[in-house]
């Protein structure tokens, strides 16, 4: 059995079957975040795509790949956003090398 089903993305609202009040609050917040503001929809879609990759959420990757195309981004721009997220994840892992250095230093002569 696959844990992720593509169709489930379209069933997202079923999450509101229980405690619909909480789901509605979430959706109002989520949709407000998508609107053009100080950042454009296009920029927000690229941020969404980058975060989707950092989270490795297949639903979000599907949703924000489409959102990026529909807001006018091309694959070069989308790939740069994905690299940005990946580089940040890589950097976040690598900075922990100092934790290892500290650990090793503490027990070394």
């Amino acid at each position: 059995m696959a844990y992720y089903e593509e169709e489930d993305l379209g069933r997202f609202k079923e999450v509101g079957k229980h405690r619909p009040d909480l789901f509605e609050k979430f959706m109002a917040w989520y949709e407000a975040c998508q609107e053009d503001g100080a950042l454009s929809r296009r920029e927000k879609a690229l941020i969404g795509l980058a975060v989707a990759h950092a989270l490795q959420c297949p639903y979000c990757i599907d949703a924000y790949s489409q959102a990026c195309l529909e807001s006018g981004s091309n694959m070069e721009q989308m790939t740069e956003a994905i690299h940005m997220a990946s580089a940040l994840r890589g950097g976040a892992a690598l900075i922990h090398a100092l934790q290892a250095h500290n650990s090793v230093d503490k027990v070394s002569m």
Binding site: S40, R42, E70, S71, G72, M75
Partner: protein
């Protein structure tokens, strides 16, 4: 969860909702606005290209083209009814032997003439002078260029089309097209290179203007975003790639009631290569004629019977009401 889809026929996409019911649910009635503003003539399916998204199924192998006799009926109708705009499409309309006759006759009557010009036809034998012909007749040129990058353009329109299109745009610019000072209008058309909705028209127009100028020194007047219609070759693509259900759901979910008022079927009369009448070029390709009771052919047309009348609709109409709306003149509403 119920996933029942309505299938009208093999030619029609499977939509999760009925278009007429959707309009009714929003308290909307789709009717003709009044007089016909745009007389759109499809002179046939012959084209020098075979684009993946083509709703006409046009290609070099198609032989269905308008005869001189029907072209004369078109000119007679222009003379009699004085439609403000003649919009000539195909196929590649320039390949029809009656094309230049129709343009010349329409311009002599003072009719605004728009030609849906695919750019690459300019490199076909005998068509090299098209920029000069367009200029001499003050034709408004509308040309498809899916993207300002080669990969997306060639993926949709065929290998080598991007380079030829750029060269054709250079020649049109050299003839004065796209220059505000000359009044010679060159508008571009953006179609998504796949199963997704177009971006905001003003945003993608700004991208095209910046990139075409910086990369190639090209200019144009405006850009229309047009949604890919789920009929004919694009529907086949959707089915072949397993995208039909998802695309149709996307169109239906993005239904925008504010896009209805500006739909082109409200003030367009579409005629096919045989002289039959339709509410739009998409209905034409589905052979969905104007509603019963109305004159069905150009030779029988009378404007009064169309005034305020109903429009023939089907599931493909969700393509024109999704997001910011879509028409031969681009977006019809703010999304």
């Amino acid at each position: 969860m119920a996933r029942e889809l309505k299938v009208i026929s093999a030619d029609a996409p499977a939509a999760p909702e009925d278009f007429a019911s959707k309009l009714a649910a929003h308290g909307l009635r789709l009717a003709r606005a009044g007089r016909v503003e745009v007389f759109q003539v499809n002179v046939g399916k012959l084209c020098n290209q075979a684009c993946k998204h083509c709703h006409v199924d046009a290609s070099p192998a198609r032989t269905e083209i308008m005869t001189r006799g029907v072209a004369e009926q078109v000119v007679a109708a222009l003379e009699k009814f004085r439609f403000p705009t003649l919009d000539i499409t195909g196929g590649a309309p320039e390949l029809n032997p009656s094309f230049r006759y129709m343009v010349g006759a329409a311009r002599a009557l003072g009719t605004r003439v728009v030609v849906r010009h695919n750019l690459t036809v300019m490199f076909e034998p005998g068509q090299e002078d098209l920029p000069e012909f367009f200029r001499a007749h003050s034709v408004e040129v509308v040309s498809s260029l899916p993207y300002f990058l080669e990969q997306q353009t060639d993926a949709q329109r065929g290998r080598g089309v991007f380079d030829k299109s750029i060269e054709a745009l250079r020649r049109l610019n050299a003839s004065g097209y796209g220059d505000e000072a000359t009044g010679l209008v060159l508008n571009l058309v953006y179609n998504p290179a796949g199963a997704f909705l177009p971006p905001k028209q003003s945003s993608v127009e700004a991208d095209f203007r910046r990139e075409l100028s910086a990369r190639y020194g090209l200019r144009f007047n405006g850009l229309y975003t047009i949604t890919n219609m789920p009929i004919r070759r694009f529907l086949e693509y959707l089915r072949r790639t397993g995208n039909e259900e998802r695309y149709m759901r996307r169109l239906v979910e993005a239904f925008n009631p504010r896009a209805v008022e500006g739909l082109m079927c409200r003030d367009t009369l579409s005629v096919d290569w045989t002289g039959r009448l339709y509410d739009c070029d998409f209905n034409q390709m589905l052979e969905l004629g104007v509603p019963r009771g109305l004159p069905q052919t150009l030779s029988d047309f009378d404007p009064e019977s169309f005034d305020g009348g109903a429009v023939a609709v089907g599931p493909h109409c969700f393509g024109c009401t999704a997001g910011a709306g879509s028409s031969c003149g681009g977006a019809t509403a703010v999304a």
